[in-house]
Symmetry: C3
Subunit: 153 residues, 3 copies
């Protein structure tokens, strides 16, 4: 790999990490439009089994309606990010999530420990989520009861 | 941007991230002098509304007195770091905090989920906090009752 | 330092961070063989005082037996990573851990807040743990009762 390519991959990795952080930020700030804009038009979002998620950005934006009033506050902490480039404009990305949620209803705060498995692509110079899948390692009082497992041996 | 500048920004970003981690480390190790040294002489530290914080490094060092005996242990976990350079020697930085505290008094452990909003500058080749503001997304049993909100929509 | 060396250190830092994340991943996925392969033959693993840990990869692999059935799930969140190169093929690395554990037995979930202190070396082009030491800042319901302190002042 040339030094130029190595440098470009470092810059791209940083941009991809930033995308993950920007997602968390807009989610915690309850900024639905900004959140949806981070996804490709033909994105696939998988938050759980049985079709819990969305096909396409428009459908994803719809799922975000009501989320803002459901939560009083959330905090998404993303770490352990591993980026594998599958091409100059595509990467598979794995990361670890610790999320805390406070509800507007009378429900205890919930905690989620999980993994994100993403396909992230660059189009028009911008990195976006093409596929985002949440797998849940474990939770405490999470309102979502059916989640995808991480596949622990 | 030239390759030289790109490389320099990656190195500077790493140094800035390290500053955030060094702050957390000295805080958790209860090393007040090392902590204060991470700030500029004219720094502004804002931990809450109503003047909770400090103006200037000397004043900040004063606020750190007594902190060591108040906490039995703390653990500050910083992630989701986003760096925006506003010049070759200045950056605005946003990050996410999960902090756990154990007190010396008979109080339950507390948890804080929040955001840091920083202005970080380089002087004499060293990156330092010029401004550090903590906003609190939510907490459990935190002894600080008045905090700055993140501004969730 | 030449630009070539600076670039190489950024790439090496990324590889070292990835090693820390890969360790957490295999631990959470209960993949003992993959976990042991991240350590050097002559590694030293220190999980607590009084010899709790292992000397050498073979001994470490032995300690991993039974771990899989003891935990129902774990989630290791690693952040605040600080890398100091002590040579072209060696680095001392400090990081912060938040770990959540769910047991197979009737025990409450546990939480650990701690620090990893590592010596990481490159052999045959691969970065591996030569020494890994866990220090515990605090815990809640952790089954391990004797742990190494972080040395808070």
């Amino acid at each position: 790999m040339t030094q130029e390519t190595q440098l470009q991959q470092l810059i791209d990795t940083q941009a991809i990490e930033r995308l993950l952080f920007t997602y968390a930020f807009h989610l915690d700030m309850n900024q639905a439009a900004e959140l949806a804009a981070l996804f490709t038009e033909d994105c696939e979002v998988i938050y759980g089994p049985g079709g819990f998620g969305a096909q396409g950005r428009a459908a994803y934006a719809k799922t975000l309606e009501g989320v803002g009033s459901f939560f009083k506050a959330t905090s998404h902490h993303v770490s352990n990010i591993v980026v594998d480039f599958t091409g100059p404009d595509e990467a598979t990305v794995r990361s670890v999530l610790y999320a805390w949620h406070r509800y507007n209803r009378e429900m205890p705060d919930s905690h989620v420990w999980g993994q994100y498995h993403d396909v992230i692509v660059r189009a028009n110079g911008k990195w976006q989520f093409k596929r985002r899948e949440l797998r849940v390692t474990g939770d405490k009082d999470f309102h979502v009861k059916k989640t995808l497992p991480i596949g622990r041996s």
